[in-house]
């Protein structure tokens, strides 16, 4: 670097040269062309690891997933690698499968209900903790526990608690005079059971992000609103909530993508059952690919791609909404 610096004659030139090409007008002319080339090359050198990373861990797996879904892979052709091209046949088969519509409906219900409750409860708690009181930080830390526990632990605990015969929830229900509920074994309740567990797990995430969003709002705004005579409710709906909109948007989007692909909680608690009553697209994809002794990788990846398309669709909506927000 030192040699190069003396040649370029200016430390400043050098600094932005390495990061990005400087505007052409500021360049003294020909003698510096090789230096600029080198700067370009070194810029690429900096980018290369990221590009390699993206290609190896994102582009290639995605390409493989699409490739798997547009060919008919059997166990034999998976090994030999000569699966015949079958176009969209796998997709049309999964769309016509009797599992598709329950899985899609379950995914939609699971995602939207989870997010609605997680977000509402998370926001309410964030507002609650915004007013500091004695032990508030201890309480807030306690609320983070679901987030710290390994999912395997929390899901297993929930499935014990919701056990029909020996679960604590049913003994509580019986103690207060309500009949027992077959949380995990009834086709009407299993989705509700996994929803409750998932809402509980998702609250801390919403709480933390909304809380930090609240912290970034200047207290002057609240003071001004209070002086203008706004009551607590009005201050929340007219001031806090609109100012939290950017944070809310990203929380909802992250929550959406995160919930869309939830697999572990459902798999541990119900295995997607009974029958298909708590099967989401993610569970179905796993069942096809790894759930039986005979893997069906093509259908499994087709279901996986449908999930990706849904996630991308909502991400696009988010980006549009952001643009509109920034424009105003």
């Amino acid at each position: 670097m030192t040699g190069d610096k003396s040649r370029a004659g200016s430390a400043e030139r050098q600094r932005d040269g390495a990061a990005m090409p400087a505007p052409p007008r500021a360049r003294p002319g020909r003698p510096l062309r090789p230096a600029q080339l080198r700067a370009q090359a070194s810029a690429w050198g900096f980018i290369a690891p990221v590009v390699a990373y993206l290609v190896a861990f994102y582009a290639y797996p995605l390409y493989r997933n699409i490739d798997l879904s547009i060919r008919t892979y059997t166990v034999a052709s998976f090994v030999t690698g000569n699966a015949p091209y079958s176009g969209l046949a796998n997709y049309s088969r999964i769309f016509r499968s009797p599992t598709f519509s329950p899985a899609l409906v379950n995914t939609a219900v699971f995602t939207f209900v989870s997010i609605a409750f997680q977000f509402a409860i998370g926001l309410a708690l964030a507002v609650f903790f915004y007013r500091r009181f004695r032990l508030s930080s201890l309480l807030r830390a306690l609320f983070l526990i679901p987030w710290l526990l390994p999912l395997l632990v929390s899901a297993s605990t929930w499935s014990w608690m919701l056990n029909s015969d020996s679960g604590i929830v049913n003994s509580f229900l019986q103690a207060i005079g309500a009949g027992p509920v077959d949380w995990l074994t009834s086709p009407h309740w299993s989705l509700a059971a996994v929803l409750i567990a998932n809402v509980w797990i998702g609250i801390p995430f919403n709480l933390v992000i909304m809380y930090s969003g609240l912290q970034s709002i200047s207290t002057d705004v609240f003071e001004a609103a209070a002086i203008d005579g706004a009551n607590g409710w009005q201050r929340f709906w007219r001031v806090t909530f609109p100012l939290l909109r950017p944070v809310s948007a990203i929380t909802l989007l992250l929550g959406f993508i995160y919930t869309l692909k939830v697999f572990d909680i459902i798999w541990i608690m119900t295995r997607g059952g009974p029958a298909t009553s708590s099967t989401t697209l993610a569970i179905w994809s796993y069942q096809l690919g790894f759930g039986s002794l005979l893997p069906d990788f093509s259908s499994a990846s087709a279901v996986g791609n449908v999930l990706i398309i849904i996630a991308v669709f909502f991400a696009l909506i988010y980006i549009r909404a952001r643009h509109r927000l920034e424009a105003t």
């Binding site: 040699g3 290369a48 034999a76 020996s166 074994t185 059952g273």
Partner: protein
């Protein structure tokens, strides 16, 4: 600067190659096989027993059999479900292990994938092995491995509970007498029977004794016999003879229920016999609908020899397997793994050491391979539909007959694809 750019480019290139290499050689352990010749070298062995480590008797036996064959063995243990995927991936990459121990219903899947060699190719002898246990390894006339041992299902019972209810275990010979016993147990204030009716392969495994015991065939899930078997289960749940939790029970959680001491019966496998002995729970065979012992499915792994570039290695692999499955060795191995030996001589030796095994030896004697009758890779498709139907009926989402008929048409549609 030039030096630095080159260095950076090199680093980037290195990073890229490292990443690609990582993706390509996820299972490098097997790749050494091509380098090993008939004598000397390293042979790889994969098994689904992650509970054992290098200090266990099983690993020591494997190592000593390797030494006898003049090679060192690289021993890797995988989780049962992960092993199938690992074996398929290794087959795709051409890095299969020299010896692969897999769960018996997976043998036909891997054989269909073209990963495994037949005994005709690899020279393994199958002479003394009981045909019903070997059945899972046979596909289209080829035998793709030899069993390490077999386990199966039976009805464990709690003598204290039965005595309190006034039921004699000897009286249970058919579904009717079993249901009558369950009614008496319930009347005495205890719980009837626990099993695993979960929506995975375990659920199918546990349902098969009743399914086969009614005379149903896997090729026709919608038959009236199949409906009778499923109706037996759903009636038990409805009448409170079996707890609602059987819908979600794995065989382990079902066993935990039985261990509470409240249950009269538990349908479970050979692998629980040590725990059963400590709680004083003997077994009876699972009754068929109209009396006699129902056919039960075999469990247990097979020794297989995956396809290698170096065909000469098969002889050494076969030698190692013959050593591991020789009567004296297999008795020790099967006793640690809770298996019944696959040969008459082996079973005799096990009985001499532990006479309490006799009812298990009888049970294994009438057991059937799930993938037998040349079902092969049709079995997984049928099994998946079967456990789905069982789940629907147990949870009340559908009646047994309509659930099974739907399962039959779904299985038929998938098999005709």
């Amino acid at each position: 600067m030039t030096v630095q750019i080159t260095r950076r480019a090199c680093a980037a290139l290195l990073a890229l190659t490292a990443v690609t290499a990582l993706a390509a050689c996820s299972s490098s352990s097997g790749s050494s096989s091509s380098a090993s010749s008939a004598t000397g070298g390293t042979y790889s062995l994969w098994d689904p027993y992650p509970q054992y480590n290098a200090s266990s008797a099983w690993w020591k036996l494997v190592a000593s059999c390797g030494t006898k064959a003049g090679v060192t063995i690289k021993h890797t243990a995988y989780d049962t479900t992960a092993l199938t995927t690992q074996a398929l991936l290794a087959g795709q990459q051409g890095t299969s292990p020299n010896i692969l121990l897999v769960d018996n219903p997976v043998v036909s899947t891997l054989a269909t994938a073209g990963i495994l060699t037949t005994t005709a190719q690899n020279g393994l002898s199958t002479g003394a092995i009981a045909p019903n246990i070997l059945g899972a390894g046979i596909l289209n006339g080829g035998t793709y491995g030899v069993p390490i041992g077999a386990n199966t299902l039976a009805l464990y019972y709690n003598p204290k509970v039965l005595q309190a209810a006034g039921v004699s275990p000897a009286s249970i010979t058919s579904w009717a007498s079993l249901t009558a016993a369950l009614a008496k147990v319930k009347a005495a204030g205890k719980k009837g029977i626990t099993f695993s009716g979960i929506n995975t392969e375990e659920g199918s495994f546990q349902f098969l004794p009743w399914f086969w015991g009614a005379g149903a065939e896997l090729t026709n899930l919608g038959s009236s016999q199949a409906t009778a078997a499923l109706t037996l289960w759903t009636t038990w749940i409805k009448d409170g003879y079996a707890p609602n939790s059987v819908i979600q029970n794995t065989q382990t959680t079902s066993w935990q229920e039985f261990q509470t001491g409240d249950f009269a019966f538990a349908e479970n496998g050979t692998w629980q016999k040590a725990g059963a002995a400590t709680m004083g729970a003997p077994i009876i065979s699972i009754p068929a609908e109209n009396g006699g012992a129902a056919p039960v499915p075999t469990g247990g792994e097979f020794f297989t020899i995956p396809v290698q570039k170096d065909k000469a290695s098969y002889a050494t692999s076969a030698k190692i397997i013959q050593c591991l499955s020789s009567t004296s060795n297999i008795v020790t191995t099967d006793s640690t793994l809770n298996y019944i030996a696959p040969t008459k001589a082996g079973q005799q030796a096990q009985l001499t050491a532990d006479p309490s095994l006799s009812s298990w030896v009888t049970a294994v004697g009438v057991a059937k391979a799930r993938t037998g009758d040349n079902l092969g890779t049709k079995y997984p498709v049928i099994s998946q539909q079967m456990w789905t139907a069982v789940q629907k009926a147990e949870s009340g989402a559908a009646a047994p007959a309509s659930a099974l008929q739907a399962a039959q048409s779904a299985a038929a549609a998938k098999l005709n694809q």
